[in-house]
Symmetry: C2
Subunit: 383 residues, 2 copies
């Protein structure tokens, strides 16, 4: 089996590549999926193999609603949740249906580089908004919205990852959330909240989603099973106001295709019914939390030399800022010379940030490898 | 289990609804899928659950390439085929990436009504082209292209279903294909060929796809496993020139999502490896061919009263034209009064066709039910 012709992941021998924000292949829940697949095909038979309902199958919508009810201050009503084929598909669908050609989409700077690629495939203009270790800079956002409105520009939405952001790992602070709420109420700004890392908290549960605390109709929340279960299933969900869900679930693609991700939706409904989901998520929290610590500990000596990072409370990433005098390309080359790799901050930015950084993913490798990688990075970058 | 909250299919008690172009739920290959799922998870393990390669997994691309090589005059090279999440997803992706706002998309009149919905969700203008029992009216197409080019309009592509069309069941004749080739060569018209019914031939294999016989770069062929295997898997493929495949497979959505339909791609690769696909397709040909005959036979008495149809050589549909003096809405009401249902021609048309018709799907019900439905229709419509 030639994995390089099956997987996106392309590993080079000997190199510890912390550029990949992928889960550990060897720790994905194969046995649970196997059992759920068998049970679901027994239970649903041909109903698993034909055209599904547009909002997505009720057993999984109900299971996700119950999960949200347990963990957030608000659960979606029927008609306020639909299934997606993951957050990438959800974002592509939303920009195609809710943005008009020429609209502005606001994005965090830095933000998830491949969301930028999805948005750039649409006929919209991306306008960056600064963010820092407390998340989105809401005062800057407010100014940008004011300027754009004065220019008569239509803003389709703000795309934000407020919880365990990619690439920074930062979570939008409670104070900033309050500020953002005020901007939303004053300007009617629409938010697309990418909530993909919510379940991967390592110390304490994160703040509730913007969707669950903001006024009805202001936030479209993209939930995903990619990080909490398995990305290969291509499965997620959207919670939003009923009118938005009706527009999205009522589109031609879902009508023609019979919903989206029908087969795997029933498979995962069975996995929830068997009670496996909570255990899998809990295992991931332990697994990836320890990996975060291994990388953080190994890198610590660099903090004496002006390298800084926010200790990530969840997600996959450690975002290490370089001291002002260090060049990004040169620093990357130095760690590559030690057979470690990472992604440079430029990849995630629409405009200069005033600093350079490297994104290290601690998800793919085990603790020993992360410790080794961290030591090599320290060796490469220590003055 | 409440199927109405799982499936798109919504059946009303006592009514034989020939409106649904869906496969028979009870004849989908549950056992094959079960075996393939188990075997694929054993073979691929975690590789089935993580991010996939952008073009789609090699084992399935190779299996499909071998199948095409057996059945068509041309097989795609590496780089000329990619996997899709079915033809709806493929069409939505193509219109979003290859059409610019304001472009024209040419569509057959009549055509698949839900493809119209997908295209209407994009910022393009749909221009209908007449078609008849020999398929697309290529002379009319030629005129329309000439006029549009004189108006400086950009035509993104022609969307056509040349083989066992939905709703008419017609196949573009060899003579018309030659004419179309000439138009393509002269005008550089781009074609998106929806080839979803290719495997469902009942008398003889169909003409090769346009993709396999037209100049490289002129045709994007959308192949699907929805009709030949199971729609719920949401799986298909695209064959086109390497530059087009590179643009489609290189888009942000597939980069961010790790390909599309990764899990079910490896499942179906295993189904091919086990040799099940050819047998399933052969079974469908017998099953649905007999159903076509049952409906056709039962409706035959109407041919004495001016109702006409092209005996469908493949696909799911019988397209019955009404005599000129019969009103469409009234005729539909008459058969509904007999507890049969169908879809009216207006649903498939962007402009008047000069005739009215009803689309009957013979895929969902067994022969006895189709005979019963046909008899009720005859009873309802006979003068």
């Amino acid at each position: 089996m030639n994995l390089s012709q099956i997987l996106q992941l392309q590993l080079r021998p000997g190199i510890i590549d912390l550029g990949w924000g992928h889960p550990d292949l060897t720790r994905l829940p194969v046995a649970s999926i196997q059992a759920a697949s068998t049970a679901a095909l027994e239970r649903y038979g041909g109903a698993m193999l034909t055209y599904g309902i547009d909002h997505g199958v009720e057993p999984l919508r109900h299971a996700l609603t119950a999960w949200i009810a347990q963990h957030e201050p608000r659960a979606p009503q029927d008609g306020e949740i639909m299934l997606s084929a993951g957050n990438s598909q959800a974002l592509a669908l939303i920009v195609s249906l809710l943005a008009q050609p020429g609209d502005v989409v606001l994005v965090e700077n830095p933000t998830y580089h491949l969301a930028l690629r999805i948005l750039r495939d649409a006929p919209v203009e991306l306008v960056p908004v600064p963010c820092d270790e407390s998340g989105l800079d809401v005062a800057a956002l407010d100014d940008i919205v004011t300027v754009l409105h004065a220019q008569q520009r239509r803003i389709a939405f703000l795309y934000t990852i407020p919880t365990f952001q990619n690439p920074t790992g930062a979570t939008l602070s409670a104070a900033r959330r309050q500020q953002l709420l005020e901007v939303v109420q004053r300007t009617s700004l629409r938010i697309v909240e990418d909530d993909v890392y919510r379940e991967l908290w390592y110390d304490a549960p994160p703040l509730p989603s913007l969707w669950s605390t903001f006024p009805d109709g202001s936030v479209i929340r993209l939930g995903s099973l990619a990080k909490s279960l398995a990305p290969g299933l291509r499965l997620g969900y959207i919670t939003a106001d009923a009118a938005t869900i009706a527009r999205l679930a009522g589109c031609g693609l879902l009508d023609s295709g019979g919903g989206i991700a029908h087969f795997q939706s029933l498979l995962v409904a069975e996995l929830f019914a068997r009670g496996d989901y909570a255990r899998i998520v809990a295992d991931y929290r332990v697994l990836y939390g320890r990996r975060r610590d291994a990388l953080h500990q190994a890198l610590l000596p660099l903090q004496q030399h002006g390298f800084t990072w926010h200790y990530p409370a969840g997600g996959y990433f450690l975002w290490m800022r370089l001291p002002a005098q260090r060049q990004l390309a040169e620093s990357l080359a130095l760690i590559q010379a030690q057979e470690v790799d990472a992604l440079p901050s430029t990849l995630f930015c629409q405009m200069p940030t005033g600093y350079s950084a490297l994104r290290f993913a601690f998800s793919l490798y085990d603790e020993a490898q992360l410790t080794e990688a961290g030591q090599r990075i320290v060796h490469a970058l220590r003055p």
